[in-house]
């Protein structure tokens, strides 16, 4: 099965999904309704995408949107799928997918810490890497690293020689 056929199959089987083939073996899937992401990924998994490679988030500051991104791989058809779910940046909430892939729990914990996205249904969203973090989540685009290091550690830029 080529990525073109697979894209048509995904878009045909799930009404909220929009799938476009790209490069030689990749598909880009956009989820129209983020509340149904777990069901949609379960459907995509049943089509042959058994492996979740990566779960990440992209902060589109100007468009006021977070893209929660799932990178999947099909061992059977050798196709890579990138599933994107755009959520409101002001109130970032999305259901967990840890029932579909158990390792998503750890990825979601990290994304919660780094972007402040709330994964509904994930039992453990405690901090994983940062201890006693009090600022805004650090991987957001509006987090100012220089101001933070000045405030927290009294750091100064080196004088230019």
């Amino acid at each position: 099965m080529t990525n073109r056929d697979m894209a048509a199959k995904i878009a045909g089987g799930w009404s909220d999904a929009e799938a476009v083939p790209r490069f030689h073996n990749q598909i880009e899937v956009t989820c129209g309704n983020p509340d149904t992401i777990a069901g949609m990924l379960h459907y995509i998994q049943s089509l042959g995408f058994e492996h979740m490679s990566n779960l990440t988030c992209v902060d589109w500051l100007e468009e006021n949107r977070f893209d929660v991104t799932y990178n999947l791989w099909s061992y059977k058809y050798k196709i890579q799928a990138t599933v994107k779910a755009g959520i409101d940046r002001g109130e970032p909430k999305i259901p967990t997918v840890m029932d579909v892939w158990p390792q998503a729990q750890a990825y979601e914990q990290e994304i919660h810490e780094m972007f402040g996205v709330d994964f509904i249904g994930n039992p453990d969203l405690s901090s994983l890497f940062l201890h006693n973090w009090k600022d805004i989540p650090p991987l957001r685009k509006d987090f100012d690293t220089e101001a933070y290091s000045k405030e927290a550690y009294g750091a100064q830029r080196n004088k230019e020689v």
């Binding site: 492996h51 990566n54 990440t56 991104t69 158990p102 390792q103 994983l128």
Partner: protein
Amino acid sequence: MEPVFYELTKLAQNDQYTTYEMFFGPNHPGMHGNFGYVVEAVGATVVKVRVNAGLLHRGFEKLMETKGWFQNLSLIPRICVVDPDPNEVAYCMAAERLCGMEIPEKAKYLRSLTLEMSRLTSLLMGMGALGAMMGLYSSMYRMMTDRDYVLDLFEWLTGARIYHIYNVPGGVRRDIPDGFLAKLTEVLDTLEYNLKEWDNLVFENPVVHKRLTGIGYITAEEAVHYGLVGPNLRATGFLADVRKDDPYAAYPYLDFETPVTHGGDALARAVQVRKEYEMSIKLVRQIIKKMPKSKEIRLKAGNTLKFVVPPGDTYARVESSKGEYGYYVVSDGGLKPYRVSVRGPSLPAGLTLCHKHLPGMDISDVAIWMASYAVCPPDIDR
């Protein structure tokens, strides 16, 4: 900020025993990296485990958003010290795919060469560490000697022993020096000769067999479900290899069969790593034989500080010594990447599978469990 102090916490006590919370790492002989588990144990049996990560977090993903496409190359190999080249290649592949570049044939071979040499160094360290976890320190020190022969060749080829910064978007940085391939063949002969020694010391050692059998057993279905990759997955009998499934660099031109092992426990994983090591030596020999004679190793990228990548996003995967290393790269068309997300191959084992496997295990087996799954802290803390 107030500092955080940890002390040995008493969790429960009765007339027979006391339950404590114990720190397994970061300062522990069985822990290779700045990472740790906090285990609750009754006697010597683990009952619960908590992950203590963040001691190695260097904020690479944030740093990469503040530097140019080419400047990031000096950061990327530092993500994984043991196996740096898959990082470089995955990042370059993502940038090239977005630019629509096709690198010269010789550059593809040189990429495969560095990837396989890097795999050799990493597997030697992994096999040695597994031996060390069982108290077989002689295997570790002697494998480090072999590893150093390969690192010397890396220094000759790239100018650096550990952080090579050799692969750049558009190709590789240097051509092969005169006499390099002959010397490499010599080193490969040494490595192959020493394999017998490793068999006697580790892989055919009855004590090792007894110690490893049954630790961390997993079935193929479960391994796929949990996102295990590379040798861990192939040790369950499931054949999946990025080099075959999603070919990159010179792998489409090479002739190889990826081995699998049936078993799914620590012994099967050790045997699988040994098979992959042997296969890697053969692959390097094949690359030497098929190396093109041309001098073209790099496309012209113009002023590297003004290098831009068209807007878009892609996920590039490379088979590292521990399995699929992936870079999800987003570009907005600017001088810097908009977002880079790194997929470390051992994150699912280190953060999720530990909650399933470690409870019920002896504390003395935890280090072997970690070494057999090749849990590498830099994959978790980027």
